[in-house]
Symmetry: C2
Subunit: 312 residues, 2 copies
């Protein structure tokens, strides 16, 4: 399959590398020049479960796309949520009428952005449990196991979605064709919608937050807001199961982990993806006439903090 | 007038000193032994608008109260809100049937605690705009001007309240007999209920917070919750006037100030008074069946932060 990976950070590098190793024709598009230069010179260089692995693939900046002639069957998106719109505007030449786009980003409402650039029946959505870390331009740390769950956004995309599952299977990505990926996306958004903003605002890791007396009630209230909005989108979350799923992290091997929003906001003073998590729930809640005050206040506070730290 | 000042921190020292200079018989009660020792030895030592002033007054710890024979016409309370209950339990011997108690603390619901120890018709409530800073045991910085507004909690206390106004007048404390002190208390609580917890949680000063895009909406939403609960207590807040009153601080000479809750939580890792501000509104809101989600979430987050920093 001719695949373009759009956004070659940690996760994009992992998917590019594994799909390339799986025999696919992989092209990269990225917006960070130092990363482009490094990959162009030496390929993606990974510490892959303890072993050094590298692989060369063509890589382009958005500015070079016009001349590249890149034409993919599938574009896999690994951008930051808040870069999605601007980046898709710039890479429109690589999207043809038979190009499918798979979005595996955390968060809610990416289909609203993507459907401005891709027909809905060419849209695939999913989640992934793979992890990856970038250590510098062109360099990534890839360890542990993961999986992918994906589904076509509209019925017409089913055949192609199943082809993608088969291609991912061949690349060792442990994919699963989902019969309700929207449920999985909302369920995963509940993890990010609770732990990400709370740990970022309170400056703590997951385990530290989980030990506080207020953690259970905070989780329940926020998850209830997510569930009320999800319900309006045809997703009927099992809030008790979701609560247990989130609370399980408190004593898991990721308890010592600072969620990505903590890394963005507190550690690196970067703009966060809050508008695609709690912010999306607050916005949709307003549209549906559902009160989501916790999501709204958390979103406002994260935005205040972004301004206070001069996030860019 | 025989006056006992209960709690001899910055503000207690100011009132004690000024009332003593005004010719009253002032006794002190405090719980901090180093402070007691210093005042017993050298009196209260103040930098009073640039001039060194000191004054000796008898001072007792709660443990010494029984033997002290202290009997006051008026007890003026300058404890931390969260110490109120425990301290009053310990100092019961100084409260006689004709003792009045004046509470000038920030926050809501102190009368609920105090009325466990003092008859309601012997309770006076108020607010003060005086400021004071403690620089060490027995040492305080007192500068600038201020005023006091007070009223009897029940009609029967009016005559005594007016006597107190007259005594405070003689001490230069700029008192005013209020005809609606509950309104003033709620109005002042709106300042603390917005700026205190937000600046503490977001780790910023008043002016920094005021410059962020979300500040106006955050203020409005929180003040609306305070107003809805105040309304149930017979106080009809003018929310627009209160909003302007709070927002005026953003560009005032206190813009560079970190509110007391920031000092408690972030700087000194002490337990906060949130239960007497936003926490009181959330609790009362629950009793009255009024939604106060912002007050509740802010209270929960402050409590989480107290645990994270090991506040005591």
């Amino acid at each position: 399959m001719k695949i373009t990976v759009l956004g070659v950070g940690g996760m994009g590098s992992r998917f590019a590398l594994m799909l390339h190793q799986g025999g696919n024709d992989v092209t990269l598009v990225d917006g960070w020049q130092a990363n482009i230069d490094a990959i162009r010179k030496d390929g993606i260089q990974a510490n892959f479960n303890g072993k050094p692995v590298s692989a060369k693939m063509p890589i382009y900046s958005p500015a070079e796309i016009d001349q590249s002639g890149v034409k993919a069957d599938l574009i896999v998106v690994f951008l930051k949520s808040n870069q999605l719109d601007a980046m898709f505007k710039r890479v429109q030449p690589i999207i043809h009428k038979d190009t499918y786009v798979l979005c595996l980003l955390n968060g809610i409402g990416h289909e609203d952005v993507l459907s401005k650039y891709v027909a809905k029946d060419h849209l695939l959505l999913g989640i992934t449990m793979w992890t990856a870390g970038m250590t510098g331009p062109g360099h990534v740390e890839l360890s542990g196991d993961g999986e992918v769950e994906l589904e076509n956004f509209e019925p017409a995309g089913e055949a192609f979605a199943k082809q993608v599952v088969s291609v991912f299977e061949g690349a060792g990505l442990n994919p699963k064709y989902s019969h309700d990926v929207k449920y999985s996306i909302w369920r995963k958004a509940c993890v990010n919608g609770t732990l990400n903003c709370l740990c970022a605002l309170l400056d703590c890791n997951i385990g530290e937050f989980g030990k506080t007396k207020q953690a259970p009630e905070l989780l329940h209230t926020i998850i209830d807001e997510f569930a009320a909005v999800a319900d309006k989108e045809g997703v009927n979350l099992d809030t008790e199961e979701v609560y247990n799923h989130v609370a399980a992290t408190f004593t898991s091997d990721i308890a010592g982990h600072y969620p990505s929003m903590h890394q963005d906001l507190v550690q690196n003073h970067r703009l966060t993806e809050i508008e695609f998590i709690d912010g999306a729930v607050a916005r949709k809640g307003e549209q549906y006439g559902i009160a989501t005050p916790y999501c709204k206040l958390l979103t406002q506070m994260v935005h205040v903090k972004e301004q206070l730290v001069g996030a860019k």
